[in-house]
């Protein structure tokens, strides 16, 4: 790690980390990106290829980094068939093309499924997280032990900053979401519990079996088999049955969770979950005759992810907050993504997501191949790209699928660092579905598995 990377990442727990003006950071950030680039160009095969194609030997300006950024889809670029055919050795080779550290030979003998494979990689210090893409392929993101350590600290810092809740180990943790059992989620949950949870009181776990990477990819694999025409009717019937059983478990979980919350309503709680589950549990709690007056006035809440296509009433957030008596100024929200390793928490005063000094924000055109020119005053809108200087196990430069508005100037909350307006949308959602051509793929012929 170079001295500039160190300088910026050492601010992880600094109280003033969001207060440093962009102008004071940029030169150090560019130096730091170059340090990362020099350290990784021979280690990450894909990065070396990119650098060669673009003719970039050094990062001296923000423009230089643009052709070296990886689109978020990079981590989905493995051939999907290898998952289905359980070609672990080849998948390992693919991972090695995007990994900062060489992937040591792991014993491939007797691997039963992808969860097994991931466990063995974890044994040698590679942590594979998998995005739960609602359709199509899952991204596979490799990270190192250092990244895991970083996440532990960053998640607690971000939540404490964004919510104003002090990590005082004085709450009962109420887990109200089915958790995708991937290393990053596990480590974040553990860190939150350690920081905010009362060690004397046991955590409530949402009563559904955790979704492993294997479970997440099973659907993707079946979808592919249906498209190829190799899925047998019994395979599909079996999948439908499993889905139905899971749905029953999910439905039951809402009742169990509501009862558990009511039972501990007088205690100080830290509620963690996803909006959809939180809303349905809150609704049931109210139906059972409980509400704000029954819950502790110092509760806190941590919500991950977006709505994920769930249809909820417009006031779902207020509804959840009111039900569990969450103080008004504790509405924690966070902008991040699986591809990054750090959070951008929303301030309570200005309602904007703040970019920490070790994340370099870059606003690109829609195609993601050039910086949007900007005078440096006011907001600039475009495709979000970030360089997360904290990332160790893989390349820190990522082009997202999001359209954002970034302001390099100070926020109403008083912090002088760059911040993102709360109007983030996905380019994919803007494109609409008006696209018709006679050419197309067999994906259009797959029904019911999405």
């Amino acid at each position: 790690m170079g001295s500039n990377v160190r300088k910026l990442t050492e601010m992880a727990s600094a109280d003033n980390r969001f207060a440093v003006p962009f102008a004071d950071l940029r030169a150090t950030q560019i130096e730091a990106m170059n340090e990362r680039f020099q350290g990784r160009k021979n280690a990450i095969k894909l990065l070396g290829h990119r650098a060669k194609e673009a003719g970039v030997a050094e990062v001296r300006t923000a423009e230089d980094i643009v052709p070296l950024l990886f689109p978020h889809t990079t981590y989905k670029s493995y051939p999907e068939n290898w998952l289905r055919e359980e070609k672990w050795e080849r998948l390992g080779k693919w991972l090695a093309t995007v990994s900062s550290h060489p992937i040591a030979n792991i014993p491939l003998f007797g691997i039963r499924d992808i969860d097994d494979w991931i466990e063995r990689l974890q044994g040698v210090g590679h942590f594979i997280s998998c995005s739960s893409g609602t359709t199509g392929k899952s991204a596979m993101l490799i990270a190192s032990q250092k990244d895991m350590e970083w996440s532990k600290v960053d998640t607690v810092n971000a939540f404490a900053w964004g919510s104003g809740v002090k990590p005082a180990q004085d709450r009962r943790i109420m887990g109200l979401a089915p958790v995708a059992y991937v290393p990053k989620n596990v480590i974040i949950a553990e860190a939150q519990e350690k920081a905010f949870g009362d060690p004397a009181r046991s955590r409530f776990n949402y009563p559904v079996p955790p979704l492993t990477v294997g479970a997440l990819t099973k659907m993707v694999v079946l979808r592919k088999a249906i498209a190829d025409g190799t899925a047998k009717p019994e395979d599909i019937a079996d999948f439908e049955r499993t889905s139905k059983e899971r749905q029953v478990a999910m439905d039951n979980a809402i009742g169990i969770a509501a009862d558990a919350l009511i039972a501990v309503r007088h205690e100080k709680l830290h509620i963690a979950g996803l909006w959809n589950n939180l809303y349905h549990v809150a609704k049931l709690v109210r139906e059972k005759g409980y509400g704000a007056a029954d819950f502790h006035p110092d509760n806190s809440i941590y919500v991950g992810g977006g709505l994920k296509r769930a249809q909820l009433p417009a006031d779902y957030q207020e509804f959840v907050h009111e039900t569990f008596n969450i103080p008004k100024d504790r509405h924690f929200q966070n902008y991040s993504m699986q591809e990054l390793n750090s959070a951008m928490p929303k301030c309570r005063e200005g309602g904007r997501y703040h970019v920490p000094p070790w994340i370099v924000p870059l606003i690109l055109n829609k195609d993601g191949d050039a910086l949007v020119s900007h005078a440096g005053v006011g907001e600039v809108e475009g495709r979000a790209a970030f360089f997360d200087l904290s990332l160790d196990g893989r390349w820190g430069g990522v082009i997202t699928g999001d359209k954002i508005s970034l302001d390099y100037g100070p926020c109403a909350c008083g912090n002088a660092g760059p911040s993102v307006r709360d109007n983030i949308v996905r380019f994919a959602d803007l494109e609409g579905d008006d696209k018709i051509g006679c050419a197309g793929t067999v994906d259009a012929y797959v029904r019911g598995v999405a």
Binding site: T61, Y78, P79, W94, G382, R383, A439
Partner: protein, 479 residues
Amino acid sequence: MSTAANHTGTLTAVPPVVSAPFFIRGELLEGQDVAHRSRDLGVTFSTPRIPLDRAVPPRTEVPPLLNVPLAEIIDFLVETGRRIRDPNNPFMQECIDRMCSTHILPREVVRNQAMYAAAYLDKRKLMAEVEQNFPDPKALDGWVPKQDFTGRKSYVRAFAPRLIHVLPGNSPGVAVKSIAQGAMVKAINLFKMSSSDPFTTVAILRIMADIDPNHAIVKSMSAVYWRGGDDAVERVLYRPQYFDKIVAWGGGDAINNVIKYLGPGFQLVSFDPKTSISMVGKQAFSSDATLDQVADLASMDVMTLNQEACVASRFIYVEAEQEDTDRFCAKLHKCIAARAAASGDFRPLDMELREQVEALMMMDDEYGVWGKPDGRGLVIRSEEPVDFHPINKTANVVRVDSLDDAVKYVNVATQTIGFFPFDRMAHYRDRLASGGAQRVVHLGEAGPSTIGNPHDAMYPLHRFVHWMAHEDGCAPSPG
């Protein structure tokens, strides 16, 4: 040092607004009431509001073309074709100008497509189309008398239907064909244009109105645009009281939007999204000259409409060892690159596809890659088909030990299979059909087809019409 300086695109620039008028039963409707975005270029175009009542003639009105003889309709279409091809035709010129602002293909390609499309408006071709679709084309012009073996008599008519055509935007040929087919079955037609081409259909209809503004053909045609999936329009129009059939191209959301509205009396005739492939047998390697020729033929199929069309090949199964396969790949790449250069179309591959290709380039002991993802022609060799959709001058050559092993890759989305050598086609065609394919053709001939042949595994005109029977009792029994 940086490549970024070559690009100037920003999101904040204000794009020009192109006007896209509507055509309602002979009348041109200009207006700037609604602004829309074109899908590929991010260009804005504006249209009038749709006059819904005028777009839907009531069922109390007998279709205007019903009693116009087919021969007269065909003559009218032929004259339309002549005017489309006329380089001085103002409607076509204006259309091509407007189109180039919303279309992803270069001007020359767009122009040639329109010229090529007009070639369909040929008397013999149109007649052949009708004759192949209808055992007795007289049913279009009148009530054809029938009598069965029991002596029961009747008249049958291929009655003029009410059709909504949901047009694709990737080929002006479809606009020409849809107008011609709608006219030949004497339908009342409402064309829903695509955001990537909201111009061609109206231009052709204007040419028709210019020939005779009061002709029944012109009075049977309307062309409008709304954003596909727009409930405010579709919930109103997609009803059996207004239309018999919806003729739709494409898949995914485009079709899912339509499917919601299907029900008794409102049927779908779908032209499905398709992928085409090629199969190259070991005979291709009999000599260097043959291999050169086969690579050229294969590249022709890949580059049909610069690979924007469904007939364009994307996967090429080659029966060879890896070394021979790689020789074929190198030649194929050269041919594709030459055709790409000649077309002047150098759109780079989009980010996601480029990413997938580069991932494969990183795994060079599993994959071979010829060319770069720069839109100038690309060939990828693999042992299994890649799991992205090869587009924009990209061919995936899949090595197989035997073409028998390639048959399993034919699926319900497979349209055309270009085959070499030609004398092995008959041996494979049953298995190809069973897998879901619709056409098997000589390699290099994905484009042309025998006039009047089925499309999308059906005879479409036969499905468009409203078959009506007039039962007329029994003939007196003999003696």
